[in-house]
Structure formats: structure tokens, C-alpha cells
């Protein structure tokens, strides 16, 4: 069983975690055409190499990010989501939507 190091709880068996999918920044829905939006929602990179993924430590419901090499299954590092998301997120509004 693999070990994964939770930034809050330290190294634990991977069975203590929930996988949260590939990490992608959401494109601005108002500036994205349907094709690009579908790419974001439905198509995953499934890249061979180092990818960033969401993981959640289930017992503490602590979400964090992990960089993992999908070829070797080596986890390069894990870090808190606040490294990427430090600001309150606002969504754009289309003025003439009415």
C-alpha cells in the first residue's frame, strides 16, 4: 500500500485518502466557448509524467494538492491548496445578460 503525506496529518496509508481528480484551473465561463468548456469539464489530460492532483484526507476532510509522476507513481510533493488559491474568488458577470 502506498504512502501519501498529508500536509496536515503527515504520511498515511493511501487508503486513508480520497482521490479528487486532476487539478485544473477553471476557465472563465463567460469567456469560453462551448468546445473549450467541454474540454475543461469532460476531457482529462491523463498525462504521462508529473501531474497535479487533488487529494482529500478522509478522516479530517482536508483537501490538498499532490504532484505525482504517473509513470513511476512517485509522489514528488504535497502542498496546501492555499499555495494556489490565496484570494477570495469572484465570478465575472455579463452585463447585458437580461
Amino acid at each position: 500500500m502506498k504512502l501519501l503525506t498529508c500536509p496536515l496529518n503527515g504520511p498515511r496509508n493511501i487508503s486513508e485518502f480520497t482521490y479528487g481528480g486532476e487539478f485544473h484551473l477553471m476557465p472563465d465561463q463567460n469567456k469560453t466557448d462551448a468546445r473549450q468548456w467541454a474540454e475543461y469539464v469532460f476531457f482529462h489530460d491523463n498525462a504521462a509524467g508529473v501531474v497535479t492532483e487533488w487529494w482529500c484526507h478522509t478522516a479530517s476532510t482536508f483537501w490538498f494538492l499532490a504532484e505525482r509522476n504517473t509513470i513511476t507513481d512517485q509522489v514528488i510533493r504535497t502542498f496546501e491548496a492555499s499555495e494556489v488559491f490565496s484570494q477570495r474568488k469572484a465570478f465575472s458577470v455579463i452585463e447585458d445578460q437580461a
Partner: protein, 966 residues
């Protein structure tokens, strides 16, 4: 004749404790510590089993639990290994896989027809015509069967345990002992694990010098140090059965599976002696030289009276010395080499006058009474070919000492690379992970001192890596000495029966024919021929098969490679995986009130819930009565399992606005609002109600099965949005009931004095905080079942008290509890969907007629953009309500198909007999063209019966919602 030798032979047995047991109904006696095989051998019973395919007689091969020859039937355990399993008082042992008797097996006639059972027989014979396999399988299964499972047996208690070590050393031979000792520095916790009953490995039975003293001396010295070292934990009779990521080792001992996490692993797994391949090499009496030595030293058993040794190395000479010392006549050493290397041991043999035939091979073995009776010796003229000159030597023991393969299984599971050098016939292991070291004969060291030196070096690498030591790392130990592996101990015979794989009865011709049938890759040969797929997993066939395939395909063994050995290393009992497992079960605080009221409990996910109240035989009547009582009087249902999440903080409304499809910013305090959740793909994944208790405080319910996922998802989104809120899953902190029915208010008004319950003051979808029966409560007016109803949520530990108070207060109104089943019928009558039952992984809000729950006036919500795109398209299906008017038709069930002609156009998601409407009602996905009320749909119901149903507008019951808004 008793084969037992006097002390000090027999280190594993206690001669003061005789033990009686039976084999095939005959009584035998052995000693405490004897394996079944050794105890039988002591009584001169060598025949243990019949082979898998041809029912050939088989006996001891390795005496180490590494072969399938010794598989026997115990009452509790089929396919037990007779050389591993110990005898116990009155143990009943039977042989397996024979018809008639073990001695005279009628199935052995199959051997005569072996030419009709060619390699790939199953594929060839049963590929066509279709149905052939089904016809023949029962017969073949019976002939080729293994042991029998005793279905009457009470299962034993098997369980699991975690262990944690700094260093785990697998294999407690000389290298393993030394590695453990060197690794056991201050603070370093070391586990030494070995599958044998004692530590010491080959030191217990092998001969390292002419005098036969060194092994025992070294063992005593190392074991003394191990005993004195508190940092070393030893586990014997324990098999490390695999290597998994990050040094996660499943170690099985007895009825327990240990899940061991090691920071460093040192594999000292040793090597497995290989058989020579010649005619009748599988007869009882033919065994590995190491098996004969184990019999002598571990069990004090004379393995025969007259022996021949076929050897390709000097270990055969050491073996001869052991046999001589044990009083066995050694008739000849048949050395495959033209010019054997000389050492002290071979000189000692020469001095004792043993006949040595160099450049000779055993061409064939002969049998009498199911046992070896002699061998046919011939000179080797070229690789694998014998000349015509033949000499017969009578003997009852033939020891094979022609080489070893490393016990490489765990190394290779960890990604290590096994390679083979054709010129030296030696193996190398490379590419091990950083936290793994290998040492000893597994790494092709054959000199005892080199093994010890390499083990020390491996341990230093491990302790340095762990930071316990900063010792200078010794030079890599050079591989000195001569390879003990003879490159070609394989001698085809005109009559065949030279076995490569004993488990599967595969001969030289079978392997070569596999390559001729076009399967040249070693992995394909394995699958086509089944070579290496039997219980011993290629331990003794992989190398011989690789050599034969290499020769047949004109490649080197290095190019051919050997097949991968996947976990488990040794056979595991199902109990080890199936033994004690944890399935968390959750109970509401009112659980025992349901049980006491006669509820049939069901497990919904982890939760126990009352299905209905009453006898299982009266299921339908009970459910119908509960439904009718809710419609006419008042019912009470435990909804504690419903999810509850607090969303608090100044952005609470903003958060819900982003998370759910509806609009929440302007939701008034004191009101509940339906909350529909979609994912980014616009698929409906959960629903609940959001209750606003203050500007900054929402209490959101979620489905029983969905709440954990919803809570996780909320936290994941807010890790990205960083809104000023806190989210807390309080599901278990609250118990809840739904009191529903036209008389619900009449009951509640008796207990709830501080909330104005009038319809004007507390309307449908209102929420209030107050007390019920003196218990602090959150009261929500909801209408899931379609009647006047209140959900009452109270702190968990008051659940039972609340239940009791309501049941007592409601006696005059005819209150009765109702269960999950009645609730499902009630909500169906009211046309409410259940997420996960009436929706699937593709359902979008429009398909399920929930477009009204989508707010278009907010900048963003999860799934919003996708839903906007979906709204531009014509829906592919619609969820509609239907009724079946034909009461004689079989009631459709969930997942029955909706047909258009003979084509599937949809499926039923819910269907029940409705006591209120007096006929079956349901919901189904149908083609949007059939979604109009009045359309007829065809449902393929039970038994394929076509049932006509009529699409009707939802809800079925109380379309103007007068009743829930009473």
C-alpha cells in the same frame, strides 16, 4: 523399516513426544515437530499424491514446501503441503486427486493416453464447436481436481494486524541472520522473518566443509547474538507473501495476516534448487539434494538406503558426504561436468572411495511399486544428448544437485530486474528500489563468507539511509567462486516423460510444441502450456522452460527471459483475505425503539433503518397500512440518517448560491428552500433543503448516502473560492423525525409550546427553532410524503426521548411509526424523486423536470455553464410518471425496460402499488416524444410480459398540494 536416525540428527523433532496420526486411513506415528511428509518418510511411506493431469505417483521433492508434489487433504484444509504442515495428535490426512486408491489409481491410465492430451489441449479441443467445454468440463475437473473444500466446516477466526519496522529482513539464512545483526544498531527496529520453523536456513542442513561442522557452528554463534539483541524481532513459520508499494509487506503466520510497513527491506530470500530433466524424473525417491539433507538433519530421517547423485556442482559431493554419514550407501556420483572443480569436499569424497562418473547423465529412472528402483546412466555426447552406452544402477534414492534459481519473486515485484548470463549460467538482480537491498544467494553469492559480507554491507546501506549510522560503505562484494548452475541439465528421451513442470505434468515436448504452435514469447508459452501456472508458480519450471524455449527459438536464455512471478509468493488461504473485515454499521439514537416496535431493519449503506413494522410475512400489508395511516391520520418516521451540514459566516448565502442550482441570497430567514446539486457536468448528484436560521447561518440537509460526498465537495470548492464561511458536517449530531399526516399538527401542538404552529404563522417550507417536549429542536415544514408534516431535528442524545414523547402524545390521533418502504411509496405518490434511484450518472435537471430549480440570475453555480449548453439541445429522455390500469399485469420493477417496438427507449426507475390510487404507479425515463400525459408506453415486465402503462402528469397525489399546505 524405520528410517529414523539417531541424535543429533533431527533438530526439529522432539523424540520424547510421539504423535499418532493417520494417512489414507492407516495409523502412523511421528514426533512432535515432524511435518506430515517427514513423519510418513520415517515410516517409509514416500508416495504422497497423484499428479494433476496424468495421476502419476509423486513424493517429496524439496522438503521445503516449495512444490505441489506434497499436496494433501486435511479435513480443514485442502491442498495443504505435507512438508509444511505439522502432524498433530489424531490428525487425519488423506491423499488427493486419485480414483480408487492412492496406490492403484485408475486415473493413472491417463498417462498411457498422454499423446492425446497434447500441450494446448484445452484450447484445441474445446475451442469449437461451442458447448463442447460445458460438456466435458465436469469430467475434466474431476480428473484434474485438487483438494475438496469441506463445506460443513465451521470457519476459523482469521484476522489482520499492522506492524511497523525500520528494517525488515526476509529470509533467516546465513545472510538474513547477518543482515539483521548488522542492522540492529541502537534505535533501529528490525524484523527477521522466515517461512521455516526455525531460523538459520541452510545452516541447519547444508554442508559447508568436509568435516560438516561449520554450518552448525556459525548458526549457533549467529543465533546467540540474535537472541541477545533486543532490537530484533523474529517471526518463524511466517511467509512474506509479496512486496507492495512503499515496502508494504503482507506476512502470513498462522491465521493472521500481518500488514507490515518497513522503512527498509533487505531480501535474503536465498535460492531454490532445480531439478534435472530426464525420463521419469518425477518418481518418488527422486528429490533435490537439499531435500535429502533436510530430511537427514532437520527430521533425522534416512532418505533412502542406496543412493545415486546426479550433480552439476560440488554441492552434490557435500550431499554425498551427508548421505554417507547418515548410513546411506552412495552407489555413484553422476557428474554432468567433464572436469569437476576440486575442493576439500570433493577430495573427501574421493578419499571415501565413492564411484564418480564424470561427463555422464541420468538418462532415465525406473520404478517398482510406485518408487524409484534404479537409474539408467549414460555418457553425455553433446549438450543434452546422451550416447547409447547404458549402465543400470539400482537405487531407491536419486539426489539432484544441478543448480539453483534465486528466490527472486519479491525483488521482481518491487521492480527489480532479473537477468541471466548464458555463459556462466548465473543470474543477476538489478534496479531494486532505493529502500530495498538484496544479499546472499538470491544475489548469486555461493561462498558463505561472501554471503555474510554482502549481508553486512546491505544492512549498512539500510541503516545509513535511515540515519541511524554513517558507516563507510564497504566495497561491493565480488562474485567469486564457481557457478553451481549447470547450463543444460536437460535430457530428452524417446518415450518422453521428462518433466519440466511437475504441477501441470508438462514435459520437454510440451514446451517445444508450444513454440512450434507459434507461441514463442515466454509469456505466451506460459499461458498456452500452463507452465508455471500451478501451485508452485514456476519455482522449478521457469528456468528449464526458459532454456527449452531459448533453444527451440534459437535465442539465449537472457533474450528469452523468465516469466513474472506476481503475488502471492505462496498459496494463501481465503481466510487470510476474507477474515475479520470491518463494515462500519451506524444506528440512530432511536434504533432500539424500532426494534422493540417489531421493525424489520434493513441496512442502507452503513445505516440501519426500519424497512417496515411487523412480520416479514405480512410485508405488503404492513407497508400499505403504514401508507394509509399517514394519509388518514399521522405517522412518524426516523430521518436521523439524513445528512445535515451547517454553513455559517457572512458568505454563507453566497456559498450556497455557487454550490446549488437555486438562488439563496434573498432567501428569507425562517424559510427553507429546495437545494438541488449538480456537478460540473450538469448531472444531478444530490438534493436537500437549505434552512436559513439567520443571515449568516444555513442548515442544509443532504441525502443519507450523499452527505459525506456533498460535504467533501463543499470543502473542495471552498478551498478554491475562499469564501468567509465555515462548513461543518453535523449529520450525526442531530436525530430527526418526520411527523406527517393530516393530524400531525394536532399531535405536535401538545408538545411544542413555544412555536406558533398555525398555518399562517408557520407555513409550508417554514423553519423554526424552539422546543419539542422540552427538547431544543429545529422544526422544518416539509412535504416529502405529501401531507402536512414537520421534520424535527434534535441533538442526537435526545432522539429516543423525542420518539417516545411523540408516540405517546399521538395516541389519540392514531400515530404509528412508518418505515423506509412506506416512505418510498408515499413520496412516489407525491411524485418526489430519490436521487440515485430516479436519477443516474447522466441525469440533468431538465430531464427530470427540475428546470424550475435552476436559477438563471446568478453569475455562477457548479454545473451552470454545462446546464446552459444542455438547455440549448433537445433532451434525449424525460422522466415521467405512469400508471398501470391493468391490475392483472405483473407490476413493473426498477430497471425494467421501456420499449418502442422491440427497441429499448427507456427504463423504469421506481414502481410500487399505490394503496392511495389503488393501482401500480411509477416513474420511468421515456423518449421525450412519449412524455406527454396520456401517451401509452410499453414496459417489458417480469417474465418478459409486455405491460401497457399510461403517462400521467406528476404528482399522482394531491396535484394542488392542498394537503401538505394544510
Amino acid at each position: 523399516m524405520n528410517q529414523r536416525l539417531a541424535k543429533p540428527y533431527g533438530s526439529l523433532i522432539n523424540r520424547d513426544q510421539p504423535i499418532k496420526f493417520s494417512f489414507e486411513g492407516t495409523a502412523y506415528q511421528g514426533f512432535l515437530g515432524d511435518s506430515i511428509a517427514s513423519a510418513l518418510a520415517a515410516n517409509n511411506q514416500w508416495l504422497l499424491s497423484r499428479s494433476f493431469k496424468y495421476h502419476r505417483p509423486r513424493g517429496t521433492l524439496t522438503m521445503a514446501g516449495q512444490d505441489a508434489n506434497t499436496m494433501i487433504q486435511l479435513q480443514s484444509n485442502p491442498n495443504a503441503l505435507a512438508d509444511r504442515e505439522l502432524i498433530s495428535e489424531n490428525l487425519r490426512v488423506m491423499a488427493q486427486n486419485y480414483s480408487g486408491s492412492l496406490k492403484r489409481d485408475r486415473g493413472a491410465l491417463l498417462g498411457l493416453f498422454s499423446r492425446f492430451l497434447p500441450v494446448g489441449f484445452y484450447y484445441k479441443a474445446f475451442f469449437k464447436p461451442r458447448g463442447m467445454w460445458e460438456k466435458w468440463a465436469p469430467l475434466i475437473r474431476k480428473k484434474a481436481g485438487l483438494g475438496v473444500i469441506n463445506q460443513q466446516l465451521e470457519p476459523d477466526y482469521y484476522d489482520k494486524q499492522y506492524k511497523f519496522f525500520d528494517v525488515v529482513v526476509v529470509g533467516a539464512g546465513p545472510a538474513g541472520l547477518q543482515a539483521a545483526l548488522t542492522a540492529a544498531v541502537d534505535g533501529c527496529e528490525v524484523l527477521l522473518v522466515d517461512e521455516n520453523p526455525t531460523l538459520g536456513g541452510s545452516l541447519n542442513y547444508a554442508r559447508f566443509d568436509a568435516e560438516g561442522l561449520r554450518g552448525q557452528q556459525l548458526r549457533d554463534q549467529l543465533l546467540q547474538q540474535i537472541d541477545a539483541n533486543n532490537n530484533i524481532t523474529s517471526m518463524t513459520d511466517a511467509v512474506c507473501n509479496a512486496w507492495f508499494a512503499d515496502n508494504w509487506l503482507p506476512i502470513i503466520r498462522g491465521k493472521r495476516l500481518y500488514k507490515v510497513r518497513a522503512k527498509q527491506v533487505i531480501l535474503c530470500t536465498g535460492a531454490l534448487e532445480q531439478q534435472a530433466v530426464f525420463h521419469n524424473n518425477d518418481l518418488p525417491g527422486v528429490m533435490m539434494s537439499s531435500a535429502a539433507q533436510r530430511l537427514i538433519h532437520l527430521y533425522g530421517i534416512r532418505p533412502g538406503s542406496a543412493a545415486v547423485i546426479v550433480t552439476g556442482n560440488n554441492d552434490g559431493y557435500a550431499n554425498a558426504l551427508d548421505l554417507l554419514d547418515a548410513g546411506v550407501q552412495v552407489k555413484a556420483i553422476v557428474d554432468l561436468r567433464d572436469t569437476p572443480t576440486q575442493d576439500a569436499i570433493s577430495k573427501a569424497i574421493a578419499a571415501r572411495g565413492v564411484r564418480i562418473l564424470t561427463g555422464h547423465a541420468v538418462f532415465a529412472a525406473q520404478k517398482t511399486n510406485n518408487h524409484l528402483s534404479g537409474v539408467d546412466i549414460r555418457p553425455i555426447t553433446s549438450t543434452g544428448i546422451c550416447g547409447p552406452q547404458s549402465e543400470s544402477i539400482s537405487c531407491d534414492l536419486l539426489c539432484m544437485a544441478v543448480g539453483y534459481t534465486p528466490t527472486y519473486q519479491l525483488v521482481c515485484q518491487a521492480g527489480g530486474q532479473l537477468s541471466y548470463d548464458d555463459s556462466s549460467a548465473m543470474f543477476t538482480l538489478t534496479n531494486c528500489p532505493e529502500a530495498m537491498q538484496v544479499a546472499g544467494s538470491v544475489n548469486s553469492h555461493w561462498d558463505l563468507d561472501a554471503c555474510l559480507a554482502e549481508a553486512s554491507r546491505a544492512a549498512i546501506l539500510a541503516t545509513n539511509a535511515l540515519g541511524f549510522t554513517e558507516t563507510t560503505i564497504p566495497e561491493i562484494i565480488a562474485k567469486t567462486g564457481v557457478s553451481p548452475n549447470h547450463p543444460w541439465p536437460i535430457f530428452p528421451h524417446p518415450s518422453g516423460k521428462e518433466f519440466v513442470d511437475f504441477d501441470e505434468d508438462l514435459t520437454i515436448a510440451d514446451i517445444i510444441n508450444a513454440t512450434r504452435d507459434g507461441y514463442e514469447h515466454i509469456q505466451l508459452v506460459k499461458r498456452y502450456s500452463t507452465c508455471g501456472m500451478g501451485p508452485s508458480q514456476g519455482r522449478h519450471s521457469a528456468l528449464a522452460a526458459a532454456r527449452l524455449v531459448a533453444a527451440a527459438t534459437k535465442r539465449t536464455v537472457a533474450q528469452t527471459g523468465v516469466t513474472t512471478a506476481r503475488p502471492p509468493f505462496a498459496p494463501e488461504q481465503l481466510g487470510h483475505s476474507a477474515g475479520r473485515s470491518f463494515y462500519p454499521a451506524r444506528r440512530s439514537n432511536m434504533h432500539y425503539r424500532h426494534v422493540e416496535a417489531g421493525a424489520q431493519m434493513l441496512q442502507a449503506g452503513e445505516w440501519y433503518r426500519p424497512a417496515f413494522y411487523g412480520s416479514a410475512n405480512d410485508r405488503e400489508a404492513c407497508i400499505n397500512n403504514e401508507v394509509v395511516n399517514v394519509r388518514n391520520n399521522v405517522g412518524l418516521v426516523d430521518v436521523s440518517t439524513l445528512g445535515g451540514i451547517e454553513v455559517r459566516g457572512k458568505d454563507a448565502g453566497e456559498f450556497l448560491n455557487r454550490f446549488y442550482t437555486f438562488a439563496f441570497l434573498k432567501q428569507p430567514v425562517g424559510r427553507a428552500r429546495y437545494a438541488l446539486l449538480t456537478n460540473e457536468a450538469g448531472v444531478v448528484i444530490d438534493d436537500g433543503v437549505a434552512c436559513r436560521f439567520s443571515d449568516n447561518h444555513y442548515y442544509v440537509t443532504a441525502t443519507t448516502g450523499g452527505v459525506d460526498r456533498v460535504y467533501q465537495s463543499m470543502l473542495k470548492w471552498n478551498a478554491q473560492w475562499r469564501l468567509d464561511i465555515d462548513i461543518a458536517n453535523v449529520t450525526s449530531a442531530y436525530c430527526g423525525v418526520n411527523i406527517a399526516g393530516p393530524k400531525a399538527r394536532d399531535v405536535l401542538i401538545k408538545l411544542c409550546l413555544d412555536i406558533d404552529l398555525s398555518a399562517e404563522a408557520f407555513p409550508y417550507m417554514g423553519v423554526r427553532e424552539g422546543t419539542v417536549a422540552g427538547i431544543p429542536a429545529r422544526v422544518i415544514r416539509v412535504g416529502f410524503v405529501g401531507e402536512l408534516g414537520y421534520e424535527i431535528h434534535v441533538p442526537q442524545h435526545y432522539g429516543e426521548a423525542l420518539w417516545d414523547a411523540l408516540i405517546t402524545a399521538g395516541q389519540d390521533q392514531g400515530i404509528q411509526p412508518f418505515g423506509v418502504e412506506a416512505q418510498r411509496v408515499l413520496r412516489l405518490e407525491k411524485g418526489h424523486i430519490i436521487i440515485g434511484q430516479d436519477t443516474d450518472a447522466m441525469s440533468n435537471p431538465m430531464e427530470i423536470q427540475m428546470g424550475w430549480a435552476i436559477s438563471r440570475k446568478k453569475p455562477f453555480f457548479v454545473g451552470g455553464r454545462t446546464i446552459a449548453e444542455l438547455q440549448k439541445k433537445t433532451p434525449l429522455r424525460s422522466l415521467v410518471g405512469f400508471v398501470v390500469d391493468d391490475l392483472s399485469a405483473p407490476i413493473p420493477l426498477e430497471s425494467h425496460l421501456v420499449l418502442q417496438g422491440e427497441q429499448m427507449s427507456g427504463r423504469v426507475t421506481s414502481c410500487n402499488y399505490s394503496p392511495t390510487l389503488g393501482k401500480p404507479i411509477g416513474m420511468a425515463y421515456v423518449d421525450p416524444l412519449s412524455a406527454q400525459a396520456g401517451s401509452k408506453i410499453t414496459i417489458k415486465s417480469s417474465g418478459g410480459v409486455r405491460v401497457t402503462a399510461e403517462v400521467v402528469a406528476l404528482p399522482f397525489y394531491d396535484p394542488n398540494t392542498l394537503r401538505q399546505e394544510l
